[in-house]
Symmetry: C2
Subunit: 125 residues, 2 copies
DNA sequence: CGGCATCCGGGATGATACTG
DNA sequence: CAGTATCATCCCGGATGCCG
């Protein structure tokens, strides 16, 4: 058998790249992680749990995650107003994958760190 | 039991976010996917397999992946010159995780698409 | 007070053309 | 073949201000 058959089964562009921008876009993973592990919470608590994110960018990411069906936004018309964000069932299907990546990180983060220190090429930063 | 104990075990910032920028940064996933599934290849073939990436950005990403120990770069001093990129053993440990995300994408990509169409909020694009 | 919009600067990214 | 060089563009981040 030629290897072209093998190649044909993998020629398609990376099948997960469309989801990468949705799930692993900037701050998206941190927000999802917080909502999946600590449950529903308000905007301000989300800011506490996702340090260094500015309110503007956090709002942008929340809108995108809401649009993609990964979180819900519930507005409570009170004084003062209260907005609660919560992970959807769709987002919860990501939990085992996040857990797997957490394990990978624990096992290999050091390898990357070592490689980075040993690197002496043009990107040595 | 109070929920503060539960919270304590998850208060740390998202533990996978440092790796997300390395593995799921722009074009990184596509490049790793190509090298993991089709084996070592040259710069030009990588451009063919990762459509729409410009040579400048592809070079940047390859340098970063090399620095982080996920790929190797082998320069063959010939006429014409030949540079071969290959995934390392460290990168191969990602294969099951990529496979898991591929399955998740197959199972839930449609859900995201439906949510996106049904969304009528400020991000309706 | 909490959530969100606007203006601006900087770094990453993209398009196009050129070089060892 | 395997990248650079240059310029345009976009997204992120900081500061400020509005509005319920």
């Amino acid at each position: 058998m030629t290897d072209s058959l093998e190649v044909n089964s993998t020629t398609g562009p990376c099948p997960i790249s469309p989801m990468v921008s949705v799930i692993f876009g900037r701050w998206a993973t941190e927000v999802l992680w917080a909502l999946l592990h600590a449950g529903a919470m308000r905007f301000t608590e989300l800011r506490r749990r996702v340090p260094d994110v500015t309110p503007k960018v956090l709002t942008q990411r929340l809108r995108q995650l809401e649009r993609d069906g990964l979180i819900t936004r519930t507005y409570h018309r009170e004084v003062p107003p209260r907005v609660v964000y919560e992970a959807t069932a769709l987002a919860r299907t990501l939990i085992p994958h996040f857990a797997g990546l957490e394990r990978w990180t624990r096992e290999h983060a050091r390898d990357i760190d070592v490689a980075r220190r040993a690197y002496a090429g043009p990107l040595a930063s």
